[in-house]
Each structure stands twice: as C-alpha cells, then as structure tokens.
Symmetry: C2
Subunit: 408 residues, 2 copies
C-alpha cells in the first residue's frame, strides 16, 4: 500500500500532441501483463536524457546514450520490463541494438533514431525474440491518450502506475506537461531501476534542451538518490514535441520560467511518488536540512539520515528514537560540525537543541508525529544559510519480503 | 540465533593476571540483569584505546579520551549498558565524570585513572545515582576469573556473550590474551555501539602501545565497519598488565610478532562474532576483493557489496541474484573500473566473468552455495595485486523486528 498516493487515471494524464504510445504483452518474464512500451515522436521533437553513472551500465543505456549523441533526431522509444539486459556482455549489447532496430522498423525510422530502455532482473539474457515478435502489434495501438497504459507497462515491483500532468497557458495557448515513472526500491539509492519520461508539447529552443534532463533530475529524482549511486539502468528522458504552436526561447523569460516550473513540478511529484510507493513503505519522510554552509554538506547530512536503517526502522515502529537521528547527523562526515549548535524538529515539535534533548520536549509529542504517515524531519546545522530537501521512506518487514522474493 | 557461533564458557575465557572484574545489577534500564561492569587494573599496566569518530561522540567517550590522554596511568574501567549517555549535553558530561569518580572511589584511585564507557539507548539521561549506588557492591566481587560475567554485563541486543582467549609461550612462560566485545547491529557500520576490551599479561614497552588499538581495530572491528562511520560510543581498549614476567620490546621481534598474532586473532574472532550475532543474521558472509590497485579501492568495492540491502536480502532468501552483486561493484565509486575484467566467485563457483554471467555457470550451483550459512564472495577486479576482506551478514525480517522494537 503506497503512502498517500492516489493513482493516476486515464483522465488525469493529458495527452501531449506529437507523442503517441502503446503498451503490449510480449511475455518477457510473466505472461498476461503489458511489458513492452513503444513511443512514437513526431519529426522535429527535441529530446534530452540523463543516464545512470553505474560502471555496470546496462546495454540499453549504452545504446540509448550513443543514439542520442548521434544527433539524428529521436523518433521513437522502446521500453521493456521484466529483464534489465544488464551484466549481459556483448550479447546484451547486440540485443539492445536489435531492440532499437525492431522498434525503428515498426515505426519506419532509422535505428539510431530510437532509444531502447530495459528494467527488471539483471544478469539474465534478454528474450529479444519475444520483443521483436511483439513490436509490430504495438504500432496500430499507438495513441496520444495511452499514458496510463504506458505507466502500467513499465512497472516492476511498483504497486501502482505513476503519472502526473500539468497544464499552463502560454501565449494564449494551453501547454501540457505529462510524465510517467517507475521504480519503488527507494530505501537506498542503489535499489532499483528508475525510469522517467516527461513530455511537453511546447516548442523549446535546441540550446534550452542541453542539460535540461540533468537539471530536472538533480532537483527531483536525484533527491531520492545520491549522485552516482544509481542502478545499472536508471534513465530519465524529457521530450518537447513543439506541436502546441508555442515557442519558448530562453529559460529566463517568463514563459520559460513557467514551463520550467511545470516540468519541475511533474518531475518532483513523480520522484515523491517513487518514495511513497517505496518497497514496503508505510511512511513518507521529508528530510529538510537548514543552516548549512553549502548545498553539498546539507545533502550529505540529509542523506546520512535518509539512508540510516536504524532511523528508518524507528519510523516504521513510530518510535521517536531521536538519538538515532542525531547519531546519523554525527557520522555524516561534516568534520567540523559543532554539535552544540544542532537543532532537530519533528514537524512542529522541537526535539533536540544544542546537541541534546530539548528541555520542553515530551515523548508524547514525538509519538504523535511519528504516528503520522507523512513526517518532516527538520535539521538546523547553525553553520550558514543554505537548505536542501530529500525524500525517503521507512524500512519495514515488507521491504525484506519484497526483495527476498523478487525473483521467485 | 547467531550463525555458527558457539558461546564462550567460563573455562574458555582465561584470566589475565593483573586484571580483575565484576558485573553487578544496577537497574539502569531493566531490572534483574547485570548491567554494570567494573574492571581493576594493577599498577603499571599499559593501556591504549581507539574511540568513535562520530561528531556526536558520547559523554563517556569524551571523558575516557581525556583521562587516557592525561597519562597518569589507567587503573580502572567502568562500563554500563542500558543507556549510552549520548546526546545528553553538559549534564551527560557531568554524569560521565561522576561515573569515573564513583568507580575511582570504589577502587581507591584517582578519577583520571578510570575510563568510563556506556552503551544503550541514546538521548536519554543516564540514571547516574543507580550507578553510584551499585558500584561499591562490585568491589568485593572483583576477580580475575570473571570475564564471562563481564561479557554478559555489557550486552545490549546481543543474543549471547562474546569472548575469546589465546595462550602462547614466550620466553618459557605462558602468556594469555583474552578479549570480550559487545555489539550486534552490523547491517551497516552506523548501527550499534561496539565495545571491545582486550588484555594480555605480557609486559609491553610503552612505545609499542602507541597506536596499537588503532592497528588492531583496523584489521578487525573496522572490517565490519567503515572508517569514521561509527556510532556515538564505539570504543576498543587494549591492556597489557605485565604480570606474566615476559617483556616484549618491539613488534618486529619474534616474540612481538607472536604476541601481535595472538592479539589480532582474538580481535578478529570478536569482530566476526559481532557479525555472526548480527541483528537478525542468518548467514555469515565474507567479502574478499582481489586484484585491486590499492587497499582503499578494494575496501570501497567490498563495502559497497557488504552494505547493499539488495545483496543482503538476496542472501537472506538464498537467492543467487548475482546481478545485485555486480550492480554494487558498479556503483562502488571506482570511476575507471573496467567491468569487462571483473570476475565473481561464490565460494568455488565461478559466477561471472568479463562482466557477465560465466558460460559454465548453472543456477543450481549458485543456489547450493547460497543455502550455506557461511558464504564467501570473491571479487577479482583485474587492476592490481592488492586484496582486502570484510565480513557482513544478511538482512532478514528479524533485523527489522529487532530495530523496530528496540526501545519498547
């Protein structure tokens, strides 16, 4: 049961003109579910992406990165679940290329114009023939209104699909931003493949696309994941089809800022949805660090708390065992941290001051907050003016069950 | 149930002449158990220690460090369980000093000659009066043959006491090394207080004692724990009473080497015992990294694998989901790692070669090894000649239960 996460509906996910998609059942790992998604982009669409930094980066990531870098225009995406095609060596690379080629053939474009993505079990050979066999059947089903089916078709251990839309008016036209994502292993950044696909129908200048995916990910998906500490397949793609007859030429312009806010909002909602559907999650926890000297140390402290299994099990137990939070702050690696300046709040409850228990703190207040399903931990370092936020979930029995049983 | 860990007996723990100890019940957190240990060292005993690097280092750690640095000779140690006296501010510091003072009074030595230690819940005030009240009753019970009682008296979530002895002949005399330790939260280095106390009756030259605790810890307790990433109270003490009429003057001498090997053996057995009794552990896992360029990168890879909750749940499930191991190697942070040179072995089974599944690998062989309670993961990086070993355990349902229920 995800934490306070209403599922998207076919109506809540708005089509983005110029982007059609379809989900079909290829029988990759389990039969009877859609496990293959094809996306078709209109000519002239702009695409940017950011990929995992894992040294064992999966074969499809290598191929997608190369195809994107080729600069011949992206016209299609093909995504399978059930098998990550990672740790599969040269054969895996050939399979990823065949997957792009089969999708290209189905769409009538060049192989280099297709980006392939895979998620699922790693170190097992991709059943490429099933993908090749199923892809042609996806073409007649391609439709702009199939976001929900696509969100379902990329799920692995997710308990529900994840998608958001936002619409805004620019230059008298309605502009749409829609995104979907998958991933639910969020207890640590290395837990599960995260795939995210965002699209807008605005026309965005080519120079604006450069680095856009990285900037969006840094403020959304990377706030539930340490930089560089990612799975073999993590990828996020952002697409601008230009079909809305609205052209945005700089991010600094009012239109640019409005579009950026809409993209960021969708990306952040998706990132938070991954945590809310975190494997076994029963609580959604926001870690907010204030008073840092710079962003890096704020994130260092936030992640130390967010990753501590002791802190996470205390949240699961609704136990205000706040010493565990202090201990995590202490080992976060801020060498000259003056613990006598550290303040800790649980929502509105002032828990620790000057490095010790706050005199007015009562256990009952801590318990009240810990019993909520949404909790904010606010840590004030007393070193500077920078703040940062990351999102995490608790560590429960179900987390162990899900990951112990994943392959069986 | 600890993994293949026969408990020590009163007979297996040999007395060390010059060191007496006693455990009494002070009612610190729970009544009816020994929770306070007093140790009395003979005059002239040499002591070295290594302490947590956590910025929130507990009050007793601050006092013990200062007393040791004072250089007036250590004559006593006092250790309580049930409360860590950490995150307790100035009051906590006063309590730690009172604890040393009360022990000093009971032993008839100066307060600066006593090192205090605490373990247990943090951020709660230490019931110092109960400790002060109970200490005098420990004095008549002091005895060289009370190692097992002391090992029991320092336990927190440990399911059994931990202690080892080793005897060797030096200069025609029998020399004894005995050590005890507590700690069982080993899934991550930040999990639980580790306390370790080692003693020998050999006389060791003062210059040999400098840094001895650090060198021993680096090759034992720090192999189940990342440097600097420790709890608020972690401490390891090594004592040489000099009562055996055997003087060792350099570590390079044959006698010095033999004594070092005995100390290291006891320290490593204790460190491994912490893992075997790891909270909820059902498997003991040795991670051995070979072919690294230097020790730091070997440990970086070993810890990435050892800390991965995905790897640990796979071990719990006896599931040879070896892709999770490869993924952890990939995100360990060795930037120029050539994954096509990485080899992975599960005990004698060659699982992965050249970054992918070994052609001869059969799932049944992987399952056979994964079902064992002791498993070695051997990772060959193909970069150099350095190897390193760390020890870890699996992540089970019981881990969550233990840590969710710890305070209740």
């Amino acid at each position: 049961m995800p934490v306070n996460l209403p599922p998207p509906t076919a109506q809540s996910l708005k089509p983005v003109a110029g982007l059609d998609m379809a989900a079909v059942a290829a029988g990759i790992r389990k039969s009877g579910r859609d496990d293959l998604v094809l996306m078709r982009l209109c000519p002239g669409a702009m695409v940017d992406a950011v990929f995992t930094q894992n040294r064992f980066c999966a074969a499809p990531v290598q191929v997608a990165r190369a195809h994107l870098a080729a600069g011949v225009g992206v016209r299609g995406l093909v995504i399978n679940t059930g098998n990550a095609n990672a740790g599969t060596g040269l054969t895996g690379l050939q399979h990823a290329k065949r997957m792009a080629q089969a999708a290209a053939q189905a769409l009538g474009v060049a192989p280099e114009q297709v980006l392939p993505f895979s998620t699922g079990v790693i170190l097992e050979p991709l059943p490429i023939e099933r993908i090749e066999a199923a892809l042609p059947s996806a073409v007649p089903a391609l439709h702009a209104d199939a976001w929900l089916a696509a969100a379902r078709g990329i799920m692995t251990t997710d308990t529900q699909p994840k998608g958001y839309s936002q619409q805004l008016e620019l230059q008298g036209q309605v502009v749409t931003v829609t995104g979907i994502a998958k991933g639910s292993g969020m207890i640590r950044p290395n837990m599960a493949t995260m795939l995210g696909y965002l699209a807008t129908d605005a026309a965005v200048a080519p120079e604006m696309m450069q680095g856009l995916a990285q900037r969006l990910a840094d403020a959304s998906f990377n706030r539930v994941s340490v930089d560089g500490d990612t799975s073999t397949n993590d990828s996020m793609v952002v697409m601008a089809t230009g079909q809305a007859q609205v052209t945005v030429s700089t991010w600094q312009s009012p239109d640019g800022q409005a579009l950026w806010r809409a993209l960021l909002s969708v990306a952040q909602q998706l990132a938070q949805a991954l945590v809310r559907d975190g494997e076994g999650a029963t609580k959604f926890i926001t870690i907010h660090v204030e008073g840092a000297q710079h962003s890096a140390e704020a994130l260092q402290v936030a992640y130390a708390v967010a990753h501590s299994p002791l802190v996470k099990t205390a949240f699961f137990a609704s136990d205000p065992n706040l010493g565990r939070i202090l201990a995590a702050v202490g080992y976060a690696g801020v060498d000259d941290l003056d613990v006598s300046r550290v303040e800790v709040f649980l929502d509105d409850v002032h828990v620790a001051t000057a490095g010790g228990r706050h005199p007015a703190y009562r256990e009952a207040d801590g318990v009240r907050v810990m019993q909520q399903s949404d909790i904010t931990v606010r840590l004030v370092l007393g070193r500077g003016v920078v703040s940062e936020t990351v999102w995490t979930c608790d560590l429960s029995h179900d987390y162990v069950s899900i990951n112990a049983d994943y392959r069986s």
